[in-house]
């Protein structure tokens, strides 16, 4: 009798938990439910802005450097144009800057290297959970923006990249940040990692470092900056390749 009751209770608990997990899975598949849960994202962003608008990401010493800086995501863009640039050691590379700016222009690698720069040893936090520490050197994005003069209504900088994320060379990687992050002291267009030219696996010739956000915001293989008022018209409309797959646009947590 007692055994039968215990078995019954165990079965009830097991079915309830299976029902719970299945229910959560079903809710995750709907359009509306993740949107409801997503109300937390702008809240998190607003709170972070309130507390840490200009705060600096932690910086480290050479003793803290990771022995090798791991590559994640694309390690070698599947893109013929990029391969040609890489074959010539990026001598023909130029960064396009356009959109809502008074003076759209191109920057060669030499011109980027001539801009005011910053060197920083920072921790890279991947959305997966791991961290690695690297020494980055690059042009301050604020200095570049001062040259092209963003329009009053420019609210985001969009980073267009050379690495396609889907078969057949489609879905180029892209990312976006707001003007607070764009003008942040530690936001740089990095061309060097650990005192050497940025390796291809880490985003050569130029990758974004936006130190107060997770790794997927740090766009690699950047070929074009576009200043926009809204990113709703770009790709999936969520402001980044991973954002279009459901990841948070504000990647500060």
């Amino acid at each position: 009798m007692h055994d039968a009751r215990r078995r019954f209770l165990a079965r009830v608990v097991a079915s309830l938990s299976a029902l719970g997990v299945a229910g959560c899975d079903r809710l995750s598949q709907t359009d509306w439910f993740p949107k409801v849960l997503g109300v937390a994202d702008p809240l998190n962003h607003k709170l972070a802005r309130l507390a840490t608008r200009k705060a600096m990401a932690q910086e480290f010493t050479p003793a803290d450097l990771s022995p090798t800086f791991r590559s994640n995501g694309t390690a070698e863009p599947d893109n013929a144009q990029y391969a040609a640039l890489a074959a010539n050691r990026f001598a023909d590379y130029a960064l396009e800057v356009d959109g809502l700016v008074a003076k759209p222009r191109r920057f060669t690698l030499a011109e980027l290297r001539a801009l005011p720069s910053r060197t920083q040893i920072t921790r890279h936090d991947c959305v997966e959970g791991w961290s690695a520490i690297g020494k980055w050197q690059g042009a301050k994005l604020s200095a570049l923006l001062d040259l092209v003069q963003p329009a009053q209504n420019a609210r985001y900088v969009v980073f267009h990249c050379a690495d396609p994320m889907e078969e057949g060379g489609t879905a180029p990687y892209y990312e976006s940040i707001d003007m607070d992050d764009a003008y942040h002291v530690q936001t740089i267009l990095a061309y060097a990692l650990n005192d050497a030219s940025l390796p291809i696996k880490n985003g050569a010739p130029i990758r974004l470092r936006v130190e107060r956000q997770l790794g997927y915001k740090h766009a690699k293989y950047v070929t074009r900056l576009e200043l926009v008022e809204s990113f709703a018209h770009i790709a999936g409309g969520n402001g980044g390749y991973w954002e279009d797959q459901g990841y948070q646009w504000y990647a500060g947590i």
């Binding site: 938990s17 299976a18 719970g20 997990v21 299945a22 959560c24 899975d25 995750s28 993740p34 409801v36 849960l37 997503g38 109300v39 937390a40 994202d41 809240l43 998190n44 972070a48 507390a51 840490t52 705060a55 600096m56 990401a57 932690q58 480290f60 803290d64 990771s66 022995p67 090798t68 800086f69 791991r70 921790r123 936090d125 991947c126 959305v127 997966e128 959970g129 791991w130 961290s131 690695a132 520490i133 130190e211 107060r212 956000q213 997770l214 991973w242 797959q245 459901g246 990841y247 948070q248 500060g252 947590i253």
Partner: protein, 290 residues
């Protein structure tokens, strides 16, 4: 049914209600009951979505970085054996255990998956980091708001001073309380209206130490919030240590819940559950023949 049987039944029923009615004691205020159940839902979802997030990189380290030259202190993974079968393993401080079926490799609907924690323990059930984060961060707000309300309530209503803080007698009676717990001897009569001292200490430790700590360690994983005070995560050993502490505290909370539910069952499942739903608790009486 004959008259005799009916008479016996009525008498029994009368005796039961007489015995039960005067001894129903209003134990839990409505606010406490509501917050308790919100907490059950929020913490369950936080645990399960948290394990799904962990599955994206099922390894834990100490220090600032995962790539420091030091190995992970805990790692869950999958590999193939000589026959090409998937083997799940768990490596803890350099000791490796085969954990196929539960950790590293598990089976769901007859299909074998390489997955840290198994699908029945995670939300969503299969590898989906973005959705797990969406669940986790929403219920984090529910959990924190509920927790802040609870702390304010316990202080303002004197629930903390009256019911949770151990008295001098409580402290002196710790030894006896431990013996009572080990022997499954539970308080009866007046004593059953109050929390016992181990219970008080457990609740206080969970509410004022473990829960704030797990929130703080969660915030410590945020690269944005780490900017406060010039890198406050280093006070706790660095971001990867903070991630480890977050994980360990989550399991300490699971351990607390297991003990809590065990005590609920052995001291009267329905009576306890009812008191947390309707507030009414039947005071257990001393058994005369005991």
């Amino acid at each position: 049914m004959n008259d005799h049987a009916r008479a016996t039944m009525t008498a029994d029923a009368l005796r039961t209600t007489e015995a039960a009615r005067p001894k129903l004691y209003y134990r839990h205020a409505l606010a406490v009951r509501v917050m308790h159940w919100i907490n059950v839902v929020a913490l369950t979802i936080m645990l399960m979505s948290g394990l799904q997030i962990f599955n994206a990189h099922p390894a834990l380290y100490t220090g600032d970085s995962s790539y420091s030259g030091r190995p992970a202190w805990l790692e869950i993974g999958a590999r193939e054996d000589a026959q090409g079968r998937a083997v799940g393993f768990t490596r803890l401080f350099g000791h490796e255990f085969t954990t196929t079926g539960v950790l590293g490799v598990s089976t769901d609907d007859g299909r074998t998956y390489a997955q840290g924690f198994p699908s029945w323990l995670t939300i969503p059930s299969h590898q989906w980091l973005a959705m797990a984060r969406t669940w986790h961060f929403f219920f984090a707000w529910i959990f924190v708001i509920n927790g802040v309300c609870f702390i304010v309530y316990t202080i303002a209503s004197r629930h903390l001073a009256r019911d949770l803080l151990p008295t001098g007698d409580d402290v002196r009676g710790i030894g006896r309380s431990i013996v009572d717990h080990v022997r499954f001897r539970h308080p009866t009569g007046e004593a059953a209206k109050r929390y016992n001292v181990l219970q008080k200490l457990a609740y206080l430790f969970v509410v004022f130490v473990l829960l704030p700590l797990i929130v703080l360690m969660g915030l410590g994983m945020s690269p944005r919030l780490d900017t406060l005070f010039g890198g406050w995560v280093d006070w706790f050993g660095g971001r990867q240590t903070v991630r480890s502490i977050h994980f360990i505290v989550a399991w300490l909370l699971v351990a607390f819940v297991l003990v809590h539910v065990f005590e609920v069952i052995v001291t009267g499942l329905w009576n306890n559950v009812r008191s947390m739903i309707t507030g009414r608790y039947r005071i257990p009486q001393e058994k005369r023949d005991a």
